[in-house]
Symmetry: C2
DNA sequence: TGCATAGTTCGACAATAATCGAACTATCAG
DNA sequence: CTGATAGTTCGATTATTGTCGAACTATGCA
């Protein structure tokens, strides 16, 4: 049950995080994780082939946005929200709010 | 004195903004603007050739991060902070704080 | 009109990133 | 060991970005 490498919070790079979140597909993964966590890759896959999904998760992992825990045969992903919050306070939350806002402003109008 | 096109705030795309800010050079421009605004391109140029600088400003403009006002022979740039704040509350501020934090935590240690 | 300044546009090239099929690895069930 | 499942790695292709010199545009000043 080999695990992944994850950068420590001190090594997080703001530009890498912004880049990771600047892709709509990856941003949508992060949004989904923010409401249900942890979650395997499969239900987050959408219509993409597995190799693409794997690539995007790897970008998210390397940026420090997501942590992947190998448990049995599935890979459980969760946001590294506490570490992100400690390193870059408010960043993830603000971006998620902005994302929620831009994608069909919920039940208000 | 022809002016530039700038997207209206309603057309801002979160992913485009994140992408614009995910480049270290562009992020540094935005940081400099945040402390002194408005400012022409020249003093923000760093060591890059004019054509590169122009390209990066164009990315920032198209994303809605920067507004460029042509006044006489210089192009005065400022952040569209109020509009950004209205559209994506806290986003720019949080990113700027994160940027300040990651680039050499000031006088503390 | 002529020249300097500030910045853009063009076009070519280099580097980075996204996409996807196919083959592979690891774990679990039988 | 066999088969199934979950996801990765590889390698090739394409698309998007960044970079920069050279030519260009617009304004201001003499």
């Amino acid at each position: 049950m080999k695990q992944y490498e994850h950068p420590p919070a001190e090594a997080f790079q703001l530009t890498a995080i912004l880049h990771a979140l600047s892709d709509p597909y990856r941003l949508s993964i992060v949004q989904k994780l923010s409401v249900l966590q942890p979650q395997p890759c499969a239900p987050l896959q959408g219509d993409r082939p597995k190799s693409s999904v794997s690539h995007h998760f790897s970008v998210l992992r390397k940026a420090g946005v997501v942590r992947t825990l190998v448990v049995g045969v599935t890979h459980m992903n969760s946001l590294r929200d506490a570490e992100l919050e400690a390193r870059f306070p408010g960043l993830l939350k603000t971006i998620l709010e902005a994302a929620a806002q831009s994608a069909g402003l919920p039940a208000q109008g």
